[in-house]
């Protein structure tokens, strides 16, 4: 489990490591339009690619979620361990992963009632109607195909958070 704060402006660090330090982002007290309080959002990003987890986190920041805490997992098993220990507001998961894939991860979340009411959005290269149906049946509330834009993340994720 990795707890990683993210800054929407990515800057070149002194090292090439993706293990960012545990620095808490000061929560913003206004939303992107600056006219109402903004709550802190904790998002779990599950993807076997650390680079893709970073890109997804950056897209969430670009979508306006400045007050964001990101938890990361490299596969479904790791994701379940995170959910046992932490409560989250949003889950974004890849499908094709080693150890436990994204659909089994979804089913396990439902079966163990680990994140009741928490929206799950699949972010994956699989894009056929069958794949989408399978994910929705397993409990996903949204579906984003890779490659994606920050605008697509905003359009699919923010309504789910506002409704939660």
């Amino acid at each position: 489990m990795r707890r990683v704060p993210h800054n929407p402006e990515i800057k070149a660090p002194a090292t090439n490591s993706l293990s960012l330090s545990q620095v808490q982002i000061a929560p913003a007290d206004k939303d992107v339009r600056g006219n109402r309080p903004m709550r802190e959002i904790t998002a779990l990003i599950v993807d076997d690619s650390a680079v893709m987890r970073k890109i997804v986190a950056r897209s969430l920041c670009q979508a306006g979620l400045d007050s964001l805490i990101v938890l990361e997992a490299g596969n479904g098993n790791e994701g379940l361990e995170v959910l046992k220990a932490k409560s989250v507001d949003l889950i974004l998961s890849d499908i094709n992963m080693p150890s436990m894939d994204g659909l089994e991860f979804l089913r396990q979340i439902q079966a163990r009632n680990l994140a009741p009411g928490v929206p799950v959005v699949m972010i994956t290269t699989e894009s056929s109607e069958e794949h989408v149906k399978e994910a929705i049946q397993a409990g996903a509330r949204g579906y984003i195909r890779k490659p994606f834009t920050a605008e697509q993340v905003k359009q699919r994720v923010l309504p789910l958070l506002n409704a939660a």
């Binding site: 990515i10 800057k11 070149a12 660090p13 090439n16 490591s17 993706l18 076997d48 690619s49 650390a50 680079v51 893709m52 970073k54 890109i55 950056r58 499908i95 094709n96 992963m97 080693p98 894939d101 994204g102 659909l103 089994e104 994956t124 290269t125 699989e126 894009s127 056929s128 109607e129 069958e130 794949h131 399978e134 195909r145 890779k146 490659p147 994606f148 834009t149």
Partner: protein, 182 residues
């Protein structure tokens, strides 16, 4: 690779579902599947959205014989084969730097991860160009090879599409290999 060595674990189709799907055939769509422009548009889409650059076809260049990075994503289902992404170490680091906003002086785990993910997204985007392929062809997780003076020998009896691409001073090549089509 005489048979697809990258075992495709499909989380989506297993057992009875796969058998049902296998009754379909992609033979009638072979011209559409092997259309080279699908690869070009996939590369442009993936690189513009994920790497932030526009690529153009390059006929004259080649991946250098110095240290290179090769990522392979296997196809399984009605089409078996692989998507292979190959580039030099310098370009691999440049791609990773653009994806992450960090500097990478040499190939490390993050660079290998980034190139594997690019290959994975390319494979998914390419197969999404043909609806039957998107529904009945699954992807393996990426395998990434780095080193010098190695060659990848692949049998692809159905078809091979290999295109070189360039952005700025960087060059890479993408190959779609089809060794079986049902």
């Amino acid at each position: 690779m005489h048979t697809n060595p990258w075992a495709v674990r499909s989380p989506l189709l297993g057992g009875a579902e796969r058998a049902k799907a296998m009754t379909k055939s992609l033979r009638d769509s072979v011209e559409l599947i092997s259309n080279p422009s699908n690869l070009d548009s996939s590369v442009d889409e993936v690189f513009s959205l994920t790497v932030g650059v526009h690529c153009r076809r390059a006929w004259e260049a080649a991946v250098p014989d110095t240290e290179s990075v090769t990522a392979v994503v296997g196809f399984g289902g009605l089409l078996t084969g692989a998507c292979v992404f190959r580039t030099g170490g310098t370009t691999a680091c440049a791609i990773c730097a653009r994806m992450t906003g960090m500097e990478f002086p040499e190939i490390d785990d993050t660079v290998r991860d980034a190139i594997g993910e690019i290959c994975n997204i390319l494979a998914g985007t390419w197969k999404s160009k043909v609806p039957e392929l998107a529904a009945h062809c699954d992807l393996s997780v990426p395998a990434v090879i780095t080193g010098r003076d190695y060659k990848l020998h692949v049998q692809a009896p159905e078809f091979t599409i290999r295109h070189g691409f360039r952005f700025e001073d960087s060059f890479f090549e993408v190959t779609i290999l089809c060794d079986g089509l049902q």
